[in-house]
Amino acid sequence: MSRQDDDSPKARQAWIRVLAKAAPAELAAEWAALPSRPAYSFLRRPETGLAMIRGRIGGDGSAFNLGEASATRAAIRLDGTETMGFGFVLGRDARHAELAAAFDALLQTGAAAAHAAVARLDNARRAREAAESRRIAASKVDFFAMTRE
């Protein structure tokens, strides 16, 4: 994640994804390990509610409502600045949404330690996913059709 991209939506989308998918405990550990943690105030205290999940008919057609998922959101502002952080995560973990918002704000300031934390979270998740996918791939099958005589 290069520093000059920090203000583009693309870079921000990428880290928001990492923060949302991180296990809450992992995220809390990374926050605790930061060399300095900025003070912030809530613009919106963590609130748990529902996100309606939508699918598409046939996977590629019109959108329809599949069902809801629990979700929690929070928003913060770094004290003494105009930098706002946004947190919106599936599940009911208020601290997860709060820390996602705090990291989001800190990352926008270009804090190197926060970017390094996100890279670690991303790498750890990718490694877990790849290992699981290799276990799944071991069950890949080739069926042979029997020839009719």
Binding site: P9, G49, L50, A51, M52, G59, D60, G61, L90, S139
Partner: protein
Amino acid sequence: MYVAVKGGEVAIDAAHRLLARARRGDGTVAEVSLAQIEGQLSLAADRVMGEASLYDRTLAALAIKQARGDLVEAIFLLRAYRTTLPRLAASEPVDTGTMRIRRRISAAFKDLPGGQVLGPTFDYTHRLLDFALAAEGGAPAGEATPEAPDPVAPCPRVAGFLNKEGLIEPAAAPEPGAVPDITRAPLDYPADRRTRLQALARGDEGYLLALAYSTQRGYANNHPFAGEIRTGKVDVEIVPEELGFPVCIGEIDLTECEMINQFVGGPDRPAQFTRGYGLAFGEQERKSMAMALVDRALRADELGEPRTAPAQDEEFVLAHCDNVEASGFVQHLKLPHYVDFQSELDVIRRIRAAAASKREAAE
């Protein structure tokens, strides 16, 4: 009609204490934890999430524990909890084509890009009770799971390659207007396919399975192939107002089934395969297959097919598929109906008295 009764507080309180005792079972046996239910009875949790229409595994586990394993009761508990939460957002439609695959098979195509990946399936097991599981404290699950050198390759959707030849119906043009939502506006008939799919997605698995089975047995002429079944994780994205661009808020497990069905065509439609669609939370393969068959049967009018069978009757199918409503209405018969019954008794007595006096008069 149900007329309210009062009284019985002491007995009701005692009954609830008995329920708590029965729920706990033998106190010398370890209590089951939510993590155990989530991790080891995960398919039960998936069914509860799906039919409660609320994706939250921990709450589903709690509901299962509270309901003593009665899944329909657990679904009711979770559905009721859902009503206490505000709606914060609606997601962008999930892209199942980019699913991180846990299982992906096609019964129609042997060789397909990405391959056939069995994943953790009951298929090809012998369905013999495994007494090794009765001896607790064995090796941790998955310890000996083999790993392939490479992860699962990207798996494009099967319907896509048939589409290239025009042999399968393409997706219909997107419907105009807001996405209909049966949690906001009651079901109205005829319902469009988007509404039907929402209702079927939360519909009772047993009911949909029976209806799907009926279509295979000839009640609605339907010759399906499991074009593709896939299970895995997809990202969920929303577009928050304050940001104005889509952001990922996490990932969920889904099972998707696309059934492809023969269609002979008509004056203005060539012969081609048509599609039935099923999508469900978690790993719910049987449910998503049944849903896809019922979805296809309900398209009878759209495809100009005669409606002859229960599975093609939209109102019959949709009005009875919700097990919270169904079990509520059936079970309300247990509640005291004393006033009702008293009045019916009176009616029967009067009819009999009238009949008796008529007989006497005739004699």
